[in-house]
Symmetry: C2
Subunit: 389 residues, 2 copies
């Protein structure tokens, strides 16, 4: 028998926290995952697009490299997830269509094409006729399209369900509580409950902080590291009755508005998502109206689909749109948060990074280096000359 | 002690069936009300506007007379309902604004004014300045408005809850079953269960048929009377956060689309309603989009309100838009259905009519005469010469 692995507590049960917990447990760690409602945060509302290229923007080359590294890991991650949970994440490989409606929208689509070329990333320009062939349900007025075949997509809710099941099978213990850090002698040594239930404390070798937009507010964190997270609200709809309507995900630019349409194996269509600098999780008239207006313009049949649900959640935004990853100055804490709109895409590489840092003390994930959790923490200036030893 | 009253079974627990059952029980009848889900049909989705004038159209003078008769009974009905249930139906008397956005919309509003004048029904034309004063939250572009002060409104869900409570207190027994008619010797003598539960039969002196759009399909009915009911689907939204936004109901014509906005004492705003010749109760992309587009154009703040629910229900439409009321050729049956978009408004007069017919054998409600339940039932032609007696 191997000696018992290190004890790890993961704070936060979104896709990132769950993927870390599962990975750590598979490599022998003794893992607790603390979350009062696992899978009900931003991961619950995600679209599930795994699209490093489509998400790339100018000046985010480091983020693109990290996204490509995670994208490359997804097929294997999905296969292991299904094997470990008997729940398929429904990984699709047909790719994404970028579609523009009017001439201004077309210009935006071509800017994306220029960007893809700059990074030598593959795509195809489609003529109107080819677009009609590939996606006959789209509005005839849709004038411009790219096909990015390397984009993948999954069903976010199946991913979360699969991670919950696989984690449990791998021995992860779920603790439905909110936790704060416990510090002793300059190191993090565990977590303690900070909600209304009976007191509970758990000692461990490492705490993995993966609480998404709430990470900065976890008791004890602010004293160790500055996590400049802000909530970016996303509203997203699910409609039913769309079986066979689309064979790809569609990223539409519709008279300046953006919308994505993601078909599900269940016959549902996911329509997302607003991006609002707000901290509430209410579904608003404007959110519904804007999503439905853009979606029906792009895909008229959306008008005939049936509303299943409309939800809003908060993405953990950061100043440079990149996540906050890795160790901080204080031993015993590893940070894995700030994934913004990329939590689903970046989960595999984040889980690998965190697992290596916790178990090996170092990591092979070079692409994560620019995203040090400490990059926004000011270096303290000495207030008085150092005392002679 | 007075002798026990007649036994009555009411089929259907919408606002009309509930009002009939409550009224009959108060006058001493021994009443059962059969409905597997009382209050969950069209009454659940109603806006609650009590607006005989606003609902009037040319060529519907008989319906207008019936609506005015019921409108006159509403204040007393509401007071008795509150006294009998301790639930206020939240009757409002501030009136309705008819508002048009563009010039074509204005023409439609003026046609309504002409109609009101033709019937000597009171209203006021408001200047833009007066409209701004009366309803400052409406879009500045709203150019034309009438104020119909006599229009009332209630909270439909409080009405239904009140009727359920008042009926129970008055002795109405609720049977959560679907029933069909039992005929013996050429008369209706009771109802029998026609759903999946254990068999159940109830004998009675009179059955009141108030099953809304399902009335024609109640077993045994089609052989007695032809009820040409068709489903007219209505989708309706409820948003929260609207406290103080409107002091009247608003009936808007917005670039040719119609929308009404009804403030609730709870701070909710009801946005209604589509009118679709469809038989399903699904909330569709188009329904949501059209209601929200018209509502936000008329009242921009709707964009900031929070979605509470979106439901669809079926109104029982008839060829002449009037209800189907009264006895049929076969004794033991009284019909009270086909109220289309007017169930809430017409409930008091319908309850009075039905109560008088059941208990007194005749009625003082003269306005109901044009709406005989038998008016669409063809008179059978003798197939052979009458046999000599």
């Amino acid at each position: 028998m191997s000696p018992p692995g290190p004890r790890v507590v993961v704070l936060g049960g979104g896709v990132v926290g769950l993927a870390c917990a599962w990975s750590l447990a598979r490599r022998g760690a003794d893992v607790e995952l603390w979350d009062p409602a696992p899978g009900q945060g931003a991961s619950h509302a995600a679209g599930g697009m795994l699209a490093p290229v489509s998400e790339a923007t100018y000046e985010e080359e480091d983020l693109l490299a990290l996204a490509l590294a995670s994208h490359a890991r997804w097929p294997d991650f999905a296969a292991r997830l299904e094997a470990g949970s008997d729940i398929s994440p429904d990984l699709h490989t047909e790719g994404a269509l970028h579609v523009g409606m009017d001439l201004d929208d077309a210009r935006e689509v071509w800017r994306t094409a220029d960007l893809l070329e700059r990074y030598s990333l593959p795509y195809q320009r489609l003529s109107s006729r080819e677009l009609r062939w590939v996606a006959p349900a789209l509005a005839p007025g849709a004038r411009t399209a790219l096909l990015v075949e390397s984009d993948l997509w999954v069903d976010n809710r199946f991913v979360v369900q699969g991670l919950l099941a696989a984690s449990a099978r791998a021995g992860v213990e779920l603790v439905p509580r909110r936790g704060g850090l416990v510090l002793e002698d300059g190191r993090v040594v565990g977590v303690t409950s900070c909600d209304h239930g009976p007191p509970l404390e758990s000692r461990c070798d490492t705490v993995v902080l993966a609480s998404g937009v709430d990470s900065g507010g976890v008791p004890g964190v602010a004293e160790l590291v500055h996590l400049p997270l802000r909530p970016v609200k996303g509203q997203i709809l699910r409609m039913s009755g769309a079986r066979g309507l689309l064979g790809h995900t569609v990223r539409g630019t519709v008279h300046g508005d953006h919308v994505y349409l993601i078909p599900r194996a269940t016959g549902e269509l996911v329509i997302g998502a607003t991006s609002e600098e707000l901290g509430d999780t209410q579904v608003t008239g404007r959110g519904l109206l804007e999503l439905l207006r853009a979606a029906t313009t792009l895909l008229p049949e959306v008008g005939e689909l049936t509303l299943v649900d409309a939800v809003a959640r908060l993405r953990p935004g950061t100043p440079d749109n990149g996540p906050l990853l890795g160790r901080v100055g204080t031993p015993g804490l590893v940070v894995a948060t700030g994934h913004f709109r990329h939590g689903m895409l970046l989960a595999p590489v984040t889980a690998d990074l965190v697992t290596e840092l916790v178990l090996d003390g170092t990591t092979d994930v070079a692409e994560a280096a620019p995203f040090a959790a400490t990059r926004y923490t000011p270096t303290p200036l000495p207030l008085s000359p150092p005392t002679p030893q």
